[in-house]
């Protein structure tokens, strides 16, 4: 009994440590700038002026839609293309299949920083800088997604695929009408992890996007909060950060179960 009590107190203390700063941030965005020094959770005076200022100063709604567009497109691309590649690598017979697979595995070991500059140069050559294409196209294939799909498809009995082939399915039919419905957990895992990675990315957008109307939400908020346009007003910075966190919190509360499952099944945190 005392053991349990101790455990719970420890957990509560940790939870407070984690949660308090976040809660404080949210509460503080509703305080007038002059009150911000207070550490208490309950605001003395409530105001919306921070938010109004943020909306006036930066196109944050536009940035939200940019982020949504980019993340959804990349996720859709990853699901389609990685599952195709995973299918080919697990079920089609062709020369060099294993070599290609190992090459893909190898790319996973390269840190992002190494390919950053060549990739940027590529975007310049393609004239994709300052377009959505630069944010979307390079990410519609991921080694991680391919491998996850490949491993999952290997667990589906060959007979099922053979039966579909005899029934008259083309390879695309097999993938999308037979394998996809049997791969929902993998689709969800790859989908959520891809979406979150893309949604949270700041570095790449900062490199390829300079036009404020095309900026993603994290990019815009980072530039706003760190880049001096908030004029040193803490309330504005915190309000923009809160707006940035909002969609993730909402998405998380809806898809909580899948988030946790996908973290657990993929065996890694991004």
């Amino acid at each position: 009994m005392t053991k349990r009590l101790l455990l719970y107190s420890a957990l509560i203390i940790f939870a407070v440590f984690f949660f308090y700063p976040f809660l404080w941030m949210v509460v503080t965005t509703f305080r007038p700038e002059a009150d911000i020094g207070a550490l208490s959770i309950l605001p003395a005076r409530v105001t919306l002026e921070n938010y109004i200022a943020v909306f006036r100063k930066i196109p944050i709604l536009r940035a939200f839609f940019n982020s949504l567009l980019v993340s959804v497109s990349v996720t859709a691309g990853v699901l389609a293309f990685c599952s195709m590649a995973g299918y080919a690598l697990s079920r089609l017979k062709f020369r060099g299949r294993n070599a290609i697979f190992f090459l893909i595995l190898f790319t996973m070991m390269l840190p992002f920083q190494i390919t950053l500059i060549p990739q940027y140069l590529l975007m310049v050559k393609f004239h994709w800088v300052n377009t959505y294409l630069a944010l979307i196209i390079p990410f519609t294939m991921s080694a991680f997604g391919i491998i996850l799909f490949r491993q999952h498809f290997l667990t589906i009995p060959q007979d099922l695929i053979d039966a579909a082939r005899i029934d008259g399915c083309s390879e695309m039919h097999i993938l999308f009408r037979i394998l996809w419905p049997l791969s929902v957990p993998t689709l969800v895992t790859v989908g959520i992890l891809t979406f979150m990675t893309i949604w949270n990315d700041v570095l790449w957008p900062i490199i390829v996007i300079r036009n404020q109307d095309l900026m993603t939400m994290p990019q815009l908020v980072t530039l706003f909060a760190v880049g001096g346009r908030a004029e040193g007003l803490l309330g504005l910075k915190l309000a923009s950060a809160t707006l940035l966190a909002l969609p993730i919190v909402v998405a998380y509360s809806f898809f909580q179960r899948y988030f946790i499952e996908s973290m657990a099944t993929s065996g890694l945190k991004s």
Binding site: P157, D159, D162, A163, A164, R165, I166, G168, P181, L182
Partner: protein, 366 residues
């Protein structure tokens, strides 16, 4: 309604594993042919090549007169039933059966009519709205068969469709598939490793081993005239007994098994003459061994004293495991004969039913 011809068909895996070795088979129109053989002999591979699921390394396959080597499975006008049923888990039974027709762009009402008709034949009408995972093994099996026949293909391929069913259901489905064959009047190629299934269902049987066809014949011909020791041992249950003997001549040609002297029937004397001094295999089926008082009408007989090791009463008959000199022998006796294990009994071997095989080639001598 089609003939299937395999001409020197071979399959190599990874360039060196020979799974199927120059197989020649002609399956006649409307014939029910069974491929049988021990595990790993290449039955499934052969069937999968006919289906187009496996590339053909060498040789030619014709279906209904058309060379199909490079024709994809869906255009071969075949249907296949798999061992583990391979039903689409995310579709209802109706959709499972309708899937092939939908892909072939049949009109909706035609599909419905076909599926319902087929479900009727297989008595699975009540299951159409369910998903495969709630069905029993036997029901899934029916659905798998239904999915095959709903398309009315020219050729049906079965790969060990009954091996996941319990013994009773297996016997029942065996009869149903045979009945279906008579109803549909289409060509069926059926793979099994169970020789009882092969014997009871096949119009003709292809016996395979190590990728090669050893014999292609009717069930009774396989049973009475096996071309070699392998076929002789594979067909029939319990399996044929084999004794290694030396051929000797003393007046007539005889077989010597240690001290036991086995006379060779008159009709085989000439054929055996070239084997003098050599070893041969003598084959005798368990049902050609009798208790002395039951051996009426056996003319060419050999009486041997045997030690009874195990007695297996089956109800309608008894299998007796015997030790005869250095050999282990199984006899199949009538149900009323129940010797005690450990006892010594005399048994009569019907030598007119003997089979003889060359000890090097294992081919049939007589």
């Amino acid at each position: 309604m089609a003939e299937v011809v395999l001409k020197k068909v071979s399959k190599l895996f990874d360039k060196n594993i020979v799974a199927v070795d120059s197989v020649n088979v002609t399956v006649k129109d409307k014939e029910f042919i069974v491929l049988v053989g021990p595990s790993g002999c290449g039955k499934s591979t052969t069937l999968r090549m006919i289906a187009g699921l496996e590339e053909i390394s060498a040789g030619e396959i014709y279906i209904d007169g058309r060379l199909v080597n490079d024709v994809p499975p869906k255009d071969r006008d075949i249907a296949m039933v798999f061992q583990n049923y391979a039903l689409y888990p995310h579709m209802t039974i109706y959709d499972n059966m309708a899937f092939g027709l939908k892909l072939r762009k049949y009109p909706k009402d035609k599909i419905r009519q076909r599926v319902e008709e087929t479900a009727e034949i297989l008595s699975i009408t009540g299951l159409l709205k369910r998903k495969p995972k709630v069905l029993s093994g036997g029901q899934r099996q029916r659905v798998a068969v239904g999915r095959a026949i709903v398309r009315r293909p020219k050729v049906f391929l079965f790969d060990e469709p009954l091996s996941n069913l319990d013994a009773k259901l297996r016997v029942q489905m065996r009869a149903e598939i045979s009945k279906l064959h008579q109803q549909l009047k289409s060509t069926m190629i059926y793979v099994t490793h169970d020789q009882v299934e092969a014997m009871t269902m096949g119009d003709r049987i292809v016996v395979m081993k190590d990728g090669k066809v050893h014999q292609l014949d009717t069930p009774l011909n396989l049973y009475h005239h096996p071309v070699n020791k392998f076929v002789a041992g594979f067909i029939g249950s319990p399996a044929m007994n084999f004794l290694t003997c030396r051929v000797a001549k003393n007046g007539k040609f005889k077989l010597m098994d240690g001290k036991i002297e086995i006379p060779v029937p008159e009709k085989y004397q000439e054929k055996i003459s070239v084997y003098v001094g050599k070893q041969v295999f003598l084959g005798i089926r368990p049902e050609d061994i009798y208790l002395p008082e039951k051996a009426f009408g056996v003319t060419e007989k050999l009486s041997l004293r045997n030690e009874v090791e195990v007695v297996e009463p089956m109800g309608n008959e008894v299998y007796i495991y015997l030790k005869t000199g250095a050999h282990n022998i199984i006899a199949r006796l009538t149900a009323d004969s129940l010797p005690k294990s450990g006892s010594q009994i005399d048994l009569i071997f019907d030598l007119s039913k003997m089979h003889l095989f060359d000890s090097d080639t294992e081919n049939r001598i007589v």
